[in-house]
Symmetry: C2
Subunit: 415 residues, 2 copies
């Protein structure tokens, strides 16, 4: 953490990204709600989901064959098969009244319930019908062969989905198997997206006056929020006016779980965001700047446990910072307690040297060729097209002062 | 490809997974529809999206400072600054009538339009107010310094989103900047999910009769379809009856872009699926089996250009096959023409040996410890809990006959 007087007016606190990730830990959690299993993909259970019954619930055959007593097959071989009386057959999905007595066998398809008396199933491939009512068994089976136990998939009361881990497709399958119809999950965090800047106009604006730009950041942020499981709430474009901005932020803090402000691009507009945040009762600023490029003018604050992120005015910078710092905050609010799976990545060779400053995290957009050469895309962070033409990005850690051409790098790929 | 007579009745064609991925290429594409930009995340443009105007649309300052003629600053230094007349200031978002004449400067904030006559912006840090109306410039600037050109982000008519690549957050940002409100995209492919098996009952069933199991596969498949950008269409559970199944499949082929059948678990049920598919007019079976474990009894067919995938009866096998073979088909139907980004993955050391058969692709579920040891999860493919307790899977290629303990493996991680 470093502090400096800026324009003789206020303490300007800069933190490293690592410090912010470890130290900016707002207490807010999205509330808990009940959703149907069919709507639960990606949702985060607020408590462990347990199974009310054993699964599959009955001993099942795993093969097409004959249910037997294993001891009746001991010693069987192709040259000296065992002969068993065929006394019936089991049908799929129906309780069977068959019983397998010593010296007998019952025909059974894959998945059907093991009849009473049987303790194994011989695959049909290892049998022959010797004569009507009698089969030859050419191989011995051990107790349990060809059988899934009644509680082998899930025991009664066992956890079938842990709290804090987003539900995956296979989790929903197991919940369905257990007859779970509803799940208690954290609500999707509501994320207020506040745009500022006198030059910014809604993207729907058909004709721009000279000097105006359409709001690109809000749309991209909303998409990132959606992708990460949150629910974006557009709060409109606020003029560069401290009072108006403070009112807008107060309302956003009241309504939402996370407030994201894309600041105007000028230093004055950023100062106004800071002033507006500081004027809100219960607000505490964590830092006024992050040691990251692009994205230094980032404000992190908390207002009554609701985190507030003031992003840089340039769309590229704003999106880089939101990815690096905002998404982890969003995951936390969403109730996620497991580490996220690593992003898709590839290793590549850097086409040219990239400079960095010690103590600063650099995020460099790159294109990756088929032969895995990563070419850095340089240009001003006002250019959003850098981000749309990039395949991914590399990160140059704080300790590093740059990378030489030919360095092996890990490229995190956009998806 | 291998062929064999099965039970003296039909040709049984098995393909490798690689053959299927390269050769099973149904012609079906989801239709094209128009969606609003706000609903376009992850959607696949049917044609290139081009910008109707240059972006940002006017030359902008990238810094807070003074707009100047660069030639007026040549030779400036801290010890020998240049003096320029301050003749005005530019405001954000408003067309400026200021003009920068030789020997003069105009104050400008980041993002504001460059006034006429100026060709560079000096950062405020390299200037001082010498006296009211005059600034000192302590560093020279070159033409274009501190300026983003009017078409530097996007030129008129330039492509801002390619066809066939799902729209990402940053793409939506650039579309917003260009004022694009609607996008022509492929519809989400409708995927019919047909369950079969006399033992299978809906997951809502509270009390199971002995021998019954709830349909786990359909819920998990629906989630995988949703995650991959498709729209699942549950078609219910069809009894093991060839005629009823054929009717159900005919209707599904008529209504949907892809039909997925989770077959009953017994060989008889699988035979019925095959018979039902073959009885549909216009159907062509591509293979009756895949050289994959788990998942061998997989049917791939096409009915009037609509692909039909008959999955194995075991939920684990069905989900493995759908991931390996079904999702690529779904991406194709969705109009995606770019390679998918690699799945999240980690390298790990295998805790114990895993056997495989040459010519067969083995998919092994594993848990990965913090110190990156991958432990294979063994158990019958009837056990869905193998999949929910796994962190990911390893693939043993066709050519390989197994992996030794201690082998370095790449684990594809579930997310």
């Amino acid at each position: 953490m470093s502090e400096a007087w800026v324009r003789g007016r206020e303490f300007f606190t800069t933190r490293s990204v690592a410090e912010a990730l470890a130290g900016f830990l707002p207490g807010r959690r999205a509330h808990v709600e009940t959703v149907s299993r069919e709507d639960a993909l990606g949702r985060v259970p607020a408590a462990a989901v347990v199974s009310g019954s054993a699964l599959p619930g009955f001993a099942r055959s795993t093969v097409d064959g004959y249910a037997v007593r294993a001891s009746d097959t001991y010693g069987a071989s192709d040259s000296l098969p065992m002969y068993l009386d065929l006394t019936g057959s089991v049908r799929m999905g129906v309780a069977t009244s068959c019983e397998v007595r010593p010296g007998s066998a019952v025909q059974i398809p894959t998945g059907a319930p093991i009849p009473a008396g049987a303790d194994a199933v011989v695959m049909v491939e290892y049998t022959q019908v010797a004569m009507p009512g009698t089969i030859e068994v050419g191989r011995p089976v051990a107790v349990g062969d060809g059988v899934v136990r009644a509680d082998e998939d899930v025991a009664v009361g066992a956890q079938i989905a842990p709290p804090g881990r987003p539900l995956r497709a296979q989790d929903l399958g197991l919940l369905a198997a257990a007859g779970v119809t509803d799940v208690e999950v954290h609500a999707r965090p509501r994320v207020a997206i506040v745009s500022t800047g006198d030059e910014v106009v809604p993207p729907e604006t058909t004709r721009l006056e000279p000097g105006q730009v359409r709001d690109a950041t809000a749309s991209a942020l909303a998409a990132m929020v959606t992708q990460a499981g949150g629910e974006p709430s557009y709060r409109g474009i606020v003029a560069d006016d401290a009072e108006e901005l403070a009112n807008s932020l107060r309302a956003a803090v009241h309504d939402c779980d996370l407030v994201v402000v894309s600041a105007g691009s000028s230093v004055g507009a950023r100062d106004e965001t800071t002033a507006a945040v500081e004027s809100i009762a219960g607000s505490a600023v964590y830092c006024h700047g992050l040691a990251i490029k692009p994205g230094k003018p980032t404000l992190l604050a908390e207002c009554d446990s609701v985190p507030l992120i003031g992003l840089p005015g340039n769309p590229l910078s704003a999106l880089v910072v939101f990815r690096m710092v905002g998404l982890p905050v969003l995951r936390r609010i969403a109730g996620i307690t497991v580490a996220p799976p690593p992003e898709p990545a590839t290793t590549a060779t850097l086409s040219r040297a990239v400079a960095s400053a010690a103590g600063r995290l650099d995020v460099v957009q790159v294109q990756v060729s088929d032969d895995r050469v990563a070419t850095p895309l340089f240009g001003h962070s006002a250019l959003l097209s850098l981000l749309t033409s990039a395949d991914g990005f590399i990160v140059i850690p704080e300790a590093n002062t740059g990378l030489d051409a030919g360095s092996a790098v890990t490229v995190t790929l956009y998806r």
